[in-house]
Amino acid sequence: MEAEGLNMTIDYVGSSGVVLSTEQKAALQSSLVILKSNYKFREVKFWGKILGVKSNYFIVQGVGKDELKDRKTLYSQDCVQWGLLPVVTESMKHNCSFVKGRFTGDPSYEYEHMEVKKGDNQDGEGAEEENIIMVKEEDRLATTIEAIDCDVRIVPRGLSVADSGKLSSYFHFREPFLLTQKTLLQKAELDKAIDFLDPIDTDVPKGGSWSIQFERGSGLVTLRSLHWLGFTFYHVPNSRKYGSIYFGLGTKNLDLPFML
């Protein structure tokens, strides 16, 4: 969600339980401007809030020249002091995949994970090796944010009211990888100027990954992800207004297949 006019746009997602207090709004208003000039961002986006047990993380993303690739993520606990999150590496992703449960709210907290490796000796007997992995919450935060961006960050395609009610009118805002798997026949129908990203109607489970609803008459379309509960996307049909925000626990809903 764009930081500019955040006071107004936050109302679009109010019905999804996303509310900022006056204090937070006031702090964000000024601190985001400072962020933008300090880091020389072209644009600053308010990404959302991850709820921890002790305290919450406010997340902001700064966009440089390339909207898709040149992004930096910052976090704060009081909307005033901001810290840069590390760049996510493959090993971080691997380590974080072991961590379960809630965020604590302390960025320096370390999760412990005991990994038992079975090394195959030549005799054929497996010797057990214990390996303790320490994961910093800061790293987990960065990984989670990237995972959410990859899974559910979307942009609208359709602009008319009728189109905005269809899932095929929204695209994943990431490097397309499903598109390359399509056959020539399927690609023939696409409009190259628009259809260069993956549409979200093929998300698995089909038809069960998103909840799409009209609000305010049809003056507003709200999409809520069922994979990442707390992710809300809004779009005003027939306009260029859209945005998304995440207000949640930072855990993926892996029980989805049972819940539909």
């Binding site: 019905s15 339980g17 207090s21 449960g101």
Partner: protein, 541 residues
């Protein structure tokens, strides 16, 4: 005489002017005014002179969804204007001009019931309507809740609900998201004995009588059926005793809930919850669809449709997350503690309660917050029901000759924490504290609110400041668990009949065995003959 008539007409004129003024008043909230809206509609009708005017304006399909939805929201405001500002005379006047009614869609008959309540002004003083906007303001400071516009629409919708039902207390319970639509929930208590759907005692007895009669008829039929055929073995299995539902106004059914998909739609009353539904709802995880009639497809099977499931979740969420500051509610003093009932189930507001300080309320131990909704036992009831009681009675009635049969073990009564237990007693959630206490403002703590977030039911929040407090739930209606959900395993297969010699079939002998047996028999025969011969020989000697 003339002067009286004149005065009356003046009066009517005045009323008309007043009504028009109010219609012209622009709503601060929606920036619409009804007068312009109506006049544009009438103008359009007169300009275009379409065929079948009424049909056109009543037909929902003709309107785009946009207009339809906006209209249903606007109707809220219209209803409120009507009920608050117009008196019956003007309303009659309105009814005389049928065109003005064009905007009403069928199904909004509650307008009439609202309008024709004459004693409304007197009720205003002690109306059960909470000041939702004030509460919304507090929740906004706490950074939770739903947007102001939506809250205001709910506010109006609640008012309509209160005006149309004999409601004693009412509060906005929260919002539950569904896949296709969301639910707004209102929690109400009726005046005693005025519950419109509560069956009177006579009806209940009749129903029971009928049930019993039907049961008898069934039994008789079965008897005839069996007499014709061979005697079938009687199964030993007795279905487990069904735990009875708690009466209205007690336990899980203490309060009544109304739900609607959109503020302004009709409030639908949710059915009372049964213990079986609560027990099953603990074992399943399902999203709501937004349709109260939808079936709940799950394993173990849930008895009821989505309305029942919604009601069960509401009961569970309320029991776990409805909290109030310590000392706000107290038990009535006269009431004697009875040890059998397992604690008292009613309390009163402590008028002398002054409120606790912000630091006390946000204390990490959370001992200054208490639950004011009864704990639901594993059985699915708030008060324990002994299932063996009923069974014993049945057995006595049935037959008395099987006395050597062992008595079923007396089940251990389930017990939960009593009412008004502090949160510090709550169990941990996956080694995390069950509640997170925060101050709404870190910079100006002296004017901050104490805010509580539930970690067991994400989306359940409470705030407290001085004497004021409120709970709200905004979420998907699902309990948190760190472990992934796995459905309960199917029941174990039934035990086989114990195998023994009497039911075991003997193995057929193989050819070799048969031959060996035959050979042995042959030998034995020959040996016997030999012996006989020998004997014969001996005798001959």
């Amino acid at each position: 005489m003339e002067s009286v008539a004149e005065a009356m007409s003046n009066d009517l004129e005045g009323d008309f002017q007043n009504a028009k003024a109010f219609l012209l008043k622009t709503s601060l909230h929606s920036n619409l005014n009804i007068y312009d809206h109506l006049s544009s509609v009438i103008k359009k009708v007169l300009d275009e002179k379409p065929h079948n005017v009424t049909g056109k304006y009543q037909n929902k399909e003709d309107e785009s969804t946009e207009v339809a939805l906006a209209r249903s929201q606007l109707t809220l405001f219209e209803v409120m204007y009507n009920s608050l500002f117009l008196d019956p005379k003007v309303l009659n006047f309105e009814i005389e001009i049928p065109d003005l009614k064009l905007q009403r869609r069928p199904g909004e008959s509650l307008i009439e019931t609202v309008m024709l309540d004459p004693e409304r002004d007197e009720d205003l003083e002690e109306a059960p309507l909470p000041d939702l906007m004030e509460l919304a303001n507090y929740f906004e400071q706490a950074g939770v809740g739903i947007g102001r516009e939506e809250t205001f629409r709910i506010f109006l919708a609640l008012k309509i609900l209160i005006d149309s039902q004999p409601i004693r207390t009412c509060r906005f319970w929260g919002k539950i998201f569904g896949i296709h639509a969301n639910y707004f929930i209102a929690e109400v208590e009726f005046f005693e004995g005025e519950d419109p759907e509560e069956p009177s005692d006579d009806n209940k007895q009749e129903e029971q009588q009928q049930d019993q009669d039907e049961a008898k008829v069934d039994l008789a039929k079965e008897g005839e059926f069996q007499a014709e055929e061979d005697d079938l073995p009687e199964p030993d299995f007795k279905p487990p005793v069904e735990i009875p539902q708690e009466e209205n106004r007690t336990g899980c059914n203490k309060k009544t809930y109304f739900a609607c998909n959109e503020p302004g739609h009709t409030w639908i009353r949710l059915p009372p919850v049964t213990p079986a539904q609560i027990v099953i709802s603990r074992q399943i995880q399902k999203f709501f669809t937004g349709n109260l009639e939808a079936p709940v497809v799950s394993y173990p099977p849930f008895a009821g449709n989505e309305a029942n499931y919604l009601r069960a979740q509401i009961a569970r969420i309320s029991a776990t997350t409805h909290i109030s500051p310590l000392g706000y509610y107290v038990f009535e003093e006269e009431e004697e503690e009875d040890d059998e009932g397992g604690g008292r189930d009613s309390f009163v507001v402590n008028q002398e309660f002054e409120g606790l300080t912000i630091n006390d309320m946000t204390d990490l131990s959370c001992s200054n917050w208490v639950h004011h909704v009864q704990y639901i036992l594993p059985q699915g009831r708030c008060t324990w029901f002994n299932p063996s009681q009923k069974r014993e009675e049945e057995e006595l009635e049935e037959e008395e000759d099987e006395e050597e049969k062992e008595e079923p073990d007396e089940p251990e009564p389930e017990q939960g924490p009593p009412l008004l237990t502090p949160l510090s007693e709550d169990a941990e959630v996956d080694s995390m504290p069950p509640w997170t206490a925060q101050k709404s403002s870190t910079l100006v703590p002296q004017y901050a609110l104490a805010v509580m977030h539930s970690n067991l039911w994400p989306g359940a929040h409470a705030f407290a400041v001085e004497r004021k407090f409120e709970n709200i739930y905004v979420g998907w209606g699902q309990r948190y668990s760190a472990e992934n959900y796995s459905p309960p395993p199917p029941p174990p297969p039934q035990e086989e009949f114990p195998s023994g010699p009497e039911i075991t079939e003997a193995e057929d002998p193989s050819v070799e065995e048969e031959k060996a047996l035959k050979a042995a028999q042959q030998e034995a025969l020959e040996a016997a003959e030999m012996e006989e011969d020998e004997e014969d020989d001996d005798e001959d000697d």
